[in-house]
């Protein structure tokens, strides 16, 4: 793992002058991930916040080669570039080495881009797919995605009198990617950036396609103070809603076990999108959410070989 001091000697790939919101956590994710690459890089982005803020013609925040195609097809697009690379190498027409990273938000990854992602991973293109998961379609005005947490208020799941926010739990995309038998799969958070950095380096060195799902708060969508973007990305981990783990060759490994597992409320409170959950009439929802998180956490511990006797039950 490269130290921050060493990294600071590198030139940023995702450079200043992009037009992300002040305090944007996904922008930090883009910066840190591309800094870790440290090689010739082709980055691709699905349509979304990070794409629109970084490549407004005639400006580009990308110092590496960069391609945007559409919302749902960044994995297929990078498949094509990677195939072009392989053929050029094979024919001796290119001497430089390249790495490939496809970036997508949760909308472009969990939802509309899932088919393209699954196809590219199954075909085994040598690329890292990195999802910056901010739990909603933030670029289009904060609508629900299948990554939006239970209870959250979004533009399409408002905290109504009859239906208070989103009624479904998050899709577990990381698990879906584990089922693709990839060389490397990991869950990370921008709140734990040293862990993220380590994982990106690992993923880029993996012999085959890799996938990292990074919790990257959107302060506008989560309705928090921009300066707290990292704090809430971290609290997601500390409450075990978003555990940090990695799966190499099918073997689960917990990256970090919180010293003290915080109650979910610690993450929920202060986020405007969950305000309504603290009303007395929604107490059941809070309880249900906490139970869900506990169960998933126990199951993960069991998968990572850290489960207690009783958690073995949970794993079944």
């Amino acid at each position: 793992m490269t130290s921050v001091k060493e990294l600071s000697k590198r030139k940023d790939i995702f450079c200043a002058g992009h037009r992300a919101c002040s305090g944007c956590a996904p922008a930090i994710t883009m910066r840190q991930v591309t800094l870790a690459a440290d090689t010739n890089l082709v980055a691709g982005l699905s349509t979304g916040c990070m794409e629109v803020v970084s490549s407004i013609y005639p400006y580009t925040a990308w110092r590496s080669s960069f391609i945007h195609n559409a919302f749902e097809n960044v994995a297929a697009t990078i498949s094509g570039v990677e195939a072009a690379y392989r053929v050029l190498k094979r024919k001796g027409k290119l001497s430089a080495n390249y790495k490939f990273i496809a970036f997508g938000g949760d909308g472009g990854t969990y939802d509309i881009g899932l088919q393209s992602l699954s196809g590219a991973m199954e075909r085994g293109h040598q690329m890292l797919y990195l999802c910056y998961d901010n739990q909603g379609y933030m670029n289009t005005g904060i609508q629900r995605s299948s990554s939006t947490p239970f209870g959250a208020a979004t533009s399409t799941t408002p905290a109504g009198v009859k239906i208070p926010g989103k009624q479904q739990f998050q899709k577990d995309l990381t698990e879906i990617m584990v089922a693709h038998n990839l060389a490397y799969v990991a869950q990370a958070s921008i709140g734990y950036y040293r862990d993220l950095n380590k994982k990106v380096e690992k993923a880029l060195a993996a012999p085959g396609p890799s996938f990292i799902n990074v919790l990257s708060c959107c302060h506008r969508g989560w309705r928090i103070d921009p300066a707290d973007s990292l704090k809430y990305s971290k609290l997601g981990v500390d409450t075990c809603l978003w555990p940090l783990y990695e799966v190499e060759d099918g073997v689960y490994k917990l990256s970090m076990k919180p010293r003290e597992k915080l109650p979910l409320e610690e993450w929920l409170k202060g986020q405007g999108r969950f305000n309504h959950l603290f009303k007395p009439e929604n107490a059941d929802m809070l309880k249900k959410f906490q139970e869900y998180v506990d169960k998933k956490w126990e199951r993960l511990l069991w998968k990572c070989g850290e489960g207690k006797e009783k958690t073995k039950e949970a794993g079944k």
Partner: protein, 392 residues
Amino acid sequence: MAKRLSTKRLALTGNEAVAEAFKQVNPDVAAVFPITPQTELMHKFAEYVNDGKVDTELIAVESEHSAMSAAVGAAAGGVRAITATSANGLALMWEILYIAAGMRLPIVMALVNRSLGGPLNIHCDHGDAMGARDAGWIHIYSENTQEAYDNTLQAFRIAEHREVMLPTMITLDGFIISHTTEVLEILDDETAKSFVGEYKPLTSLLNPDQPVTMGSLALPDYYFEHKRQLVEGMYNAPRVIEQVAKEYYELTGRQYGFLENYRMEDAEAAIVVMGSAAGTTKEVVDSLRDRGVKAGMIKLRVFRPFPHEQLANALSHLNSVAVLDRCISYGAQGGPVFGEVRSAMYGKTIPVHSYIYGLGGRDLTPHMVESAYNDLFEGKSDPRMRYLGLRE
């Protein structure tokens, strides 16, 4: 007569003919997904890949949307990229067709024409290509297996020309051409290769000396200018299409242009048609001529860019014209080709009639074509679309 190089005379289907041309071109990346009636084209090409006859990277994607997306990625990576599809496959690509053109990537695609449904139908009509007529692609139609092969080779030269830089689709009628074994004369591999030439990309993501951003977001301050540039590519295309056809003629003796004028010199009435129906129409013209009827035909080879001026000149001496469309534009005055032809004829007083034929693979027989000529020569006038081979 142009000099004729050594050629090989084969018996191949339209799909095999295009695969043969692709084999000779030996593209760098092929993104493929099956759909009837295109499927056999890529089967054949996959055989070439797996038998080591080409050194193409074959990406067997999970949808046509990803096929076009991967082709965009590959072309952006600075290599020659191809794909092929039909009907619903093209419809699924639709979004990315515009992006490929907007990014000025010279992807070559074989489109085996098939109806779009519903109801579901796997047979030929031109509704698929017509849906994509404004996507910024060059569209070249083929009458038979030979033309499908010839057009494929020429497509690379046209698409990749520096002043054009537009993706190009060559079309062949589903089943009628794609699955019909016919005589095919092919160039020897070396001649074909040198005709098409080495690919040199204008821009590449894989140039370590110059990282580039492709697919940027253009706001109202620049989007319009980028679209105007694309129009310029289309404006430049005719010159290039003609130049490429001329060189191809010198190699093969086979003549290509925007139009094929068949017995038009002293014709009094003519049919304008595209694709395989042109052959059947020629037979009808001959039999009418045997009876002293001055019939002519114009086969339209290139639909985009549309040769308005050439067509208007070719039709200017006639008494009447019928346009046969293998596609309906619902709610319009006629089929899409009709609309273009009538627009080209603006200011002239020659009546132009719209006929729709062959939807969903309905056979176009010589009798049907003859009935359209009879209408023209009898001076029957009907401002509405008419149909050939439709049961009332």
